[in-house]
Symmetry: C2
């Protein structure tokens, strides 16, 4: 069926050892021989079996990728970045998704180890306290984290704290005082924590009181009544929401619209991620943008450098590579006059007023 190295050897009239060398170390074989072997390879359309090869040597040219989900385009964008480089460089990707589940993370990593991946690119729920990562370190298995905000391990991400800080400061600069942060299932994640930290610092620096992050069920079709109440009722209702990611922001916006709030008039919204799709929304979603595709690319490059042992040549000094974030000031943010005067009343009865 599929030709093996034996077939090539027989066809060329040499031993399989020579064929192997012709493939893996062409300079060690007689040019004439090399040529004959190559002709046979072409004639039979022979491609060495990666399986057999990797069983023998340790080079699998296989990289594992562990992602929480593909439902969030953030990760799809990263994966695309990884795949672009990986496939161009002759590596294969083995993909596993975890749905933010610790058991599945463990299982995914184990599976990848069994398959003798040469390295892995991971996004886990919590990088700092992850025992499996320590185990990988111990086992000498190479990995690079993506989007996990930690200085303790090899990682590529934006400075989540600083990015959130910048974003919330921008909200404050637009006159907002009562700003709430919303987080989804990521609440227990390192990213969300860092983002909340940045939020809190920006608030404090402006002399405002940060609130704990409000958790929102991501997958629910509607905002829960209690959350909605939090967001819409009372004189102290927030005028701006900082959502810990864009998808959450979109879900929240829909919830608010259904509750007859207008965006940004009744509520300003700032997301995080910078999904390409956000720009297509109406109004275009303001967001703190991470260069997702580039994060994927950078993670790949770092991993490859470590795998091939050329890591030092990269000239990196720290484990964590921080990529710059950008602020996309979409139309979901309204300026609030920085006076005590109330803004004009609206039919919805909900008026965005500055903090008295």
């Amino acid at each position: 069926m599929i030709p093996t190295i034996k077939d090539v050897a027989a066809h060329a009239g040499f031993s399989i050892a020579t064929v192997s060398r012709a493939i893996n170390a062409p300079h060690t074989v007689n040019p004439v021989t090399l040529d004959k072997v190559r002709q046979s390879i072409d004639a039979l359309n022979f491609r060495p079996s990666p399986l057999a090869r990797q069983l023998r040597s340790e080079r699998t040219r296989l990289i594992g990728v562990v992602l929480p989900t593909l439902a969030n385009p953030v990760f799809a964008e990263c994966l695309q970045g990884i795949d672009d480089l990986a496939s161009a460089q002759g590596y294969r990707l083995m993909l596993m998704t975890t749905q933010y589940d610790a058991d599945r993370e463990r299982h995914a990593i184990e599976t990848l180890r069994e398959h003798r991946v040469e390295g892995m690119i991971l996004t886990v729920a919590d990088a700092d306290t992850h025992p499996l990562l320590d185990e990988l370190d111990r086992a000498g298995l190479l990995y690079v984290l993506m989007h996990n905000d930690t200085v303790r391990r090899p990682s590529v991400c934006v400075d989540n704290r600083l990015a959130a800080f910048d974003g919330v400061r921008m909200l404050i600069a637009h006159g907002h005082r009562r700003i709430l942060m919303l987080a989804g299932t990521l609440a227990a994640s390192d990213r969300a924590r860092q983002r909340h930290l940045g939020y809190a610092q920006a608030m404090q620096q402006a002399g405002l009181t940060p609130a704990p992050a409000l958790e929102v069920d991501f997958n629910a079709d509607e905002l829960s009544p209690s959350v909605l109440a939090h967001l819409t009722s009372g004189p102290h209702r927030p005028t701006a929401l900082f959502c810990s990611n864009d998808l959450l922001a979109m879900v929240v916006m829909r919830g608010l619209r259904r509750a007859r709030l207008q965006i940004p008039h009744d509520m300003s919204i700032l997301g995080f991620d910078g999904l390409a799709m956000g720009e297509l929304l109406s109004p275009p979603l303001a967001s703190i943008c991470a260069p997702n595709r580039e994060i994927g690319c950078a993670a790949w490059q770092r991993l490859l450098a470590r795998v091939t042992g050329t890591y030092e040549a990269l000239g990196e000094t720290s484990l964590a590579l921080t990529l710059p974030h950008t602020l996309r000031e979409g139309a979901t943010i309204a300026a609030i006059p920085n006076l005590s005067a109330a803004s004009p009343a609206r039919t919805s009865g909900l008026t965005a007023r500055p903090f008295a």
Copy 2:
């Protein structure tokens, strides 16, 4: 380092053959022996190497997935569907993306073959005329197409023609007469062709003249002036656009908004795909919905059935499995009074009028 079957055999005091049987055919080994072996396996934390296993037997438990891109959530949604089932059933996924490039499609399929995947799930540009698929058939390699609309090969998709037909009929029922179809890079794909066919049939059935699909550059940040002119100028400008997919619809909507057209007042928009995200838009995008995740699941099930030889048990009669589409009547579609009276003039100066 990593324990092998030999280590387990030595630890348990049996031969490697017995260990192998304990793993692969537990019923053929003495319960007491089985127990001892299992204890050794646990003690050493042994996991059989998939590599070695697949080199020997033909069971790699590896499935290849070839997708055009992950930038379009349609495919990410499908992939998620596949991954959910696959990982639960102990299969691994090897992912390759092609960017709709024929060379990359060829390369991806070859790579997967080398890796001895047990089967593959593919979305290719054009299924009918794809020589590689014929080759797979000849080689007896199992595959299932996703979203490729062909009856000639194993496939799972919606009835693209009928779906488009239904969608465009709905537009017509809303009073639209001048309806244009827009297509992106998919113009050369089987899906787009089928969708255009459905469009044309719906138009003809209503006594209207179908137009050729207008090609739009997907990746451009703006609609080209010529396209924009097509859409907005003259008394015969369309009142509704049928976009061959949701992402395109979103790009077009942004372009129209920038040209100061209001949706749906100045232009109705109907997409295709039913992206989850579309519902989060404002206004929510009307779309012809394919059950993407289910398509992924169904493709997986069919493939697995073929791989495990239980295909007949599925009771399928035809190669192509058609899943039902649904119509999501979002707010991007406005009704047009079916009279010759013009609708009220608007500031934009562009008034949606029925065909005179």
